[in-house]
Symmetry: none
C-alpha cells in the first residue's frame, strides 16, 4: 500500500475545476490522477469499474454539489456498497449538518472552496502521512498507535504564517474580533489585549490583507483618520 501511488478519482461537475484539481494532484508526489467523474452516478460507475479492473481507487476528491446526487449521498452509497475508499470533501457549502453528515459518512478531510494550492496540498499530504503511518505496522499494537494514526489525519498542521506574526497572538486577536459587534480600532485592540499599538496593527493589517477583516477609516475626531476593523462574516 505504501509502495505505490495513491489512486485518486476526481468527482466534480465543472470541467475547469476538475482540471484544476487534477493539475494540483500532478504536482504532488505519491498521488496519481486515476480519472474524473462529472456526476454522482458516473463516480459510482467509475469506482466499480476500477475495482473490476483490479485497480481500485484509494481516494475520492468529492465535490458536494453535483448535478444528480448530493456528494453525501454518493458517499453513503459507496459505504452501502462496501467500499472503504477514503473521501475528501470539497465544497463551498459550510452548513453545519453537512459537516456532521460528512463525519458520519467517513469523510477524512473537508476542504472549503475556494482554497489555495497550499491548503489543498496540506490536506493531501496529511492523508498520505496517515496511510504511511498505518502501513508502517502490521497491526495496531496499542491505543497510542491508533490515536497517533487518527491524529495524523486530523491534526491541523498550521499553514505558513508571514514572519513577525505568532500563532498565539494571532489567535487572540481573531478571538477578540469575533466577539465584537461593532468595528474596533487598533487602539481598542491594544487596550483590551494588553499589547502594543504597533503589534495590534501588524495583526489587524495582516488579517485585513488576507481578507478576514473589513477595514475602513473613521473620521470625525481630531488627528489622522483611524482605521477600524470588523470581522467579515
Amino acid at each position: 500500500m505504501a509502495d505505490r501511488d495513491i489512486r485518486v478519482l476526481v468527482v466534480e461537475d465543472e470541467a475547469i475545476a476538475a482540471e484544476a484539481h487534477a493539475a494540483y494532484l500532478d504536482r504532488l508526489t505519491g498521488f496519481v490522477h486515476a480519472g474524473t467523474a462529472g456526476d454522482g452516478h458516473a463516480a459510482l460507475r467509475a469506482l466499480a469499474a476500477a475495482v473490476a479492473a483490479g485497480q481500485p481507487i484509494d481516494l475520492v476528491l468529492m465535490d458536494m454539489t453535483l448535478p444528480d446526487l448530493h456528494g453525501l449521498d454518493v458517499s453513503r452509497r459507496m459505504r452501502a456498497a462496501g467500499l472503504t475508499t477514503d473521501i475528501i470533501a470539497i465544497t463551498a457549502v459550510r452548513e453545519l449538518h453537512i459537516v456532521r453528515g460528512a463525519v458520519a459518512a467517513g469523510i477524512v478531510q473537508y476542504l472549503i472552496k475556494p482554497f489555495t494550492y497550499a491548503t489543498f496540498a496540506q490536506k493531501l499530504v496529511q492523508y498520505r502521512d496517515f496511510r504511511l503511518q498505518l502501513a508502517s505496522q502490521s497491526a495496531m499494537t496499542s491505543q497510542t498507535d491508533v490515536d497517533l494514526a487518527f491524529a495524523s489525519l486530523r491534526t491541523p498542521t498550521d499553514l505558513p504564517r508571514p514572519k513577525g506574526l505568532s500563532e498565539g497572538t494571532l489567535g487572540a486577536v481573531i478571538e477578540f474580533l469575533k466577539h465584537q459587534t461593532v468595528p474596533v480600532s487598533s487602539s481598542e485592540v491594544m487596550d483590551q489585549l494588553g499589547i502594543s499599538r504597533v503589534t495590534a496593527r501588524r495583526y489587524l493589517e495582516h488579517l485585513a490583507d488576507t481578507g478576514s477583516l473589513d477595514r475602513s477609516p473613521r473620521y470625525g475626531t481630531p488627528g489622522r483618520p483611524e482605521n477600524e476593523y470588523a470581522w467579515r462574516r
Copy 2:
C-alpha cells in the same frame, strides 16, 4: 443540541461489559445511557425505535465483535439507512483493515480493550467537546473552524512521552505546577527547579501539547513575549 444530554446506546454482547460501560457513562456529565443492545440486529432496531419515538440516539458505543454481525457491518447498515449517529468503536481486535474500515464507516473514536476509565472518559469528553464546538456556531465560517472541530475530535491527549523527556523530571515539573496558583513562565520553572530554561521549556511544551497545561503569551514588557503556563484543572 448542546443544551441537552447526549443520548448513548451501548452495543455489547457481554452483559458484564455492557453494565460496566453504562456505569462509566453515568459518571460523566452530559451523557445519558439510552439503552443497551446485545447484538447487531437489536442495535439497529433500537436505533430505529429511538428515531420513531422522536428521541434519536446521538452516539453508539459499539463493540466490534458481536454474535450476529460484525460491528463494521452494523455501522455500514446504519449509514445505508441514512443515520448520521456517531459511533465510537470498542474492540479488542487491532487488525489494520478493521481500523481502515472504521475510518471509512465514519467512526469517530476507536477504543481498544481493555481500557481504563480514564481512557474511556477522555474519548467521550473529546467527543463532547467536538459537539460543543460545532454547536457553538451556526455555520463554519472558515477552513480553520472546520479544522479545529475535526482536531478536537481526534487529537490525542495521550501522547507517549517523546524522546528527551525523563520520567523523574516530568513528575517534578508537574508537581511544581500543581502547587502554583498563578501562571508561571519557563524562567520561573528554571529558577525554582534548578534546571535549564531549555529543559524547562521542553517539558512545559510537552505538557501544553498534551492538554495538561494552558499556555498563553504574556505581553507588556519589551522583548519577545514570554509564554506562561498554568495547570489545567
